[in-house]
């Protein structure tokens, strides 16, 4: 047996906290992060003095707001004293990775009470500059220099997926329509707007075949969770979620170095590792938050995680199978498309959203079956992936 599985301590999420995601010209990066962490600590009934380590996911604070050394900068404001405060950067999977490292430290028995958080403040820069900063998550020596933006990379993935599997523009748009419908019911979502298929299809082109309705939003926001060993969870709360699995894997950064761009090997391997660790398969997942940075990414991830056969993600979404009342609800939060995508906050934000579902706290968006949830957080055009599987407390 894998040494990790044999010796690790089971871990629980005991507190979750998120800011709303949106454009907040009057808020700075630190105040967003502090708000999310304070919510999570309050939710966990844990004082800041109990926290033994802090992992912060952030993609590009230095470029977006000119601030570096972010983990102690935020940690000190929350009241963390003399503990390791570490920032982790893995592009849009930065806080998924922060969660992975936080989980490792608790599972390994090094710490008991650990905070994993993520934050990004993106809207203080004009869109062309944001586009350029985000492009830095790709390979700037090759594709980036040629003029590949992130929408362009995913547009090329979409084109190839359409070519190989017959995926249609309408199927891509169906993902957007569904995520907007869900986000409209989420009080913390960035763009709470229901859209029609016709609107999605007629959107302004960003990188063909993708329109603005295929692209996630440029957002400000933060999210945080508090984790402890499962055996201590009830000291804090009865509303915890068990971490059944966390897996982080990697792949090439440049899209043109991959054999087949219609799949993400890192998503596939992270999914397989997570299923193995949790001792279950895709059929057992009740609800999932997938990394829909672009509509095509949700379709590809649903295939790579084994929810559907390769190439069937488009028809699956268009048939309504991933809606809140469908057999496998995906992105009940509204996803990155409608909820927003403050990139460094997204991974932990997804975990907060799934824990809400597992607790039965998702209000209008609550799914009927909510025992086991999955999150999938993607960095760049697939070079990092973090998958978590969580179970509701019995």
């Amino acid at each position: 047996m894998n040494a990790i599985l044999k010796y690790m301590r089971p871990v629980a999420v005991i507190g979750i906290g998120k800011t709303a995601f949106g454009a907040f010209p009057d808020r700075d990066l630190r105040s967003l992060a502090v708000e999310a962490i304070e919510h999570a600590l309050g939710d966990a009934n844990a004082p800041s003095s109990a926290v033994e380590a802090f992992y912060l996911g952030n993609f590009a604070g230095p470029s977006f707001v000119g601030q570096n050394h972010l983990a102690p900068y935020i940690g000190a404001s929350v009241g963390f004293e003399s503990i390791p405060c570490t920032r982790i950067e893995d592009a849009c999977a930065s806080s998924g990775s922060a969660f992975f490292h936080a989980w490792q430290s608790v599972a390994a028995g090094i710490y008991d009470v650990v905070v994993a958080a993520g934050v990004e403040k993106m809207t203080s820069q004009p869109t062309p500059r944001v586009t350029e900063i985000l492009a830095g998550a790709g390979d700037m020596s090759g594709e980036g220099r040629a003029g590949a933006t992130f929408p362009a990379l995913f547009a090329m993935i979409a084109r190839r997926h359409m070519h190989q599997y017959g995926t249609t523009r309408e199927q891509l748009a169906a993902v957007s329509v569904k995520n907007h419908a869900n986000g409209a019911k989420n009080p913390q979502a960035h763009m709470r707007k229901v859209i029609t298929l016709e609107q999605a299809l007629a959107g302004k082109p960003v990188a063909e075949p993708l329109t603005v309705y295929d692209c996630s939003l440029i957002s400000d926001g933060a999210a945080a969770v508090v984790i402890v060993p499962l055996e201590r969870a009830r000291e804090f709360t009865s509303r915890f979620a068990k971490v059944l699995a966390v897996a982080q894997t990697s792949d090439h950064v440049a899209l043109d170095t991959k054999a087949d761009i219609t799949l993400f090997p890192a998503v596939k391997s992270a999914g397989e590792k997570a299923y193995k660790m949790a001792g279950l398969g895709p059929k057992q997942i009740d609800v999932a938050e997938l990394h829909d940075c672009f509509t095509i990414a949700e379709i590809v991830a649903s295939e790579d995680l084994g929810f559907v056969e390769k190439g069937s993600g488009g028809p699956f979404a268009a048939a309504g199978c991933t809606a809140i009342n469908g057999p496998l609800p995906i992105n009940t939060s509204g996803g990155l498309k409608s909820k927003g995508h403050p990139v460094g906050a997204t991974g932990v934000g997804q975990i907060c959203d799934v824990v809400m579902q597992l607790r039965g706290d998702a209000g209008e968006r609550q799914v009927a079956r909510h025992r086991i949830g999955l999150t999938q957080n993607l960095g760049g055009s697939g070079a990092t992936c973090v998958v978590t599987i969580l179970e509701a407390a019995q």
């Binding site: 062309p128 350029e132 090759g142 220099r145 929408p151 362009a152 960003v206 990188a207 043109d256 170095t257």
Partner: protein, 76 residues
């Protein structure tokens, strides 16, 4: 390297309408990943703004020039 070995077949492509700051003046422009005849893949620009100049998956493209580390191609 002969010119021919730098030619290739379009593996995938897009037209970029929302460019990074650096290439604002070029937009819209076509970007493609091509399978080189000599082996390997490369991300390149495909020149031309007219509909008939647009390269699609499977089209042959020929090397035009390299400028500032970027390879420019044209639909064959």
């Amino acid at each position: 390297m002969s010119l021919e070995s730098r030619d290739g077949i379009v593996y995938t492509e897009t037209i970029v309408h929302s460019p990074p700051e650096q290439y604002a003046a070029d937009a819209p422009y076509q970007l493609a990943i091509i399978d080189l005849h000599s082996g390997g893949r490369l991300t390149v620009r495909v020149l031309g703004k007219r509909a008939e100049e647009r390269a699609h998956i499977g089209d042959r493209v020929t090397f035009v020039e390299e400028k500032n580390g970027v390879a420019y191609y044209r639909k064959a």
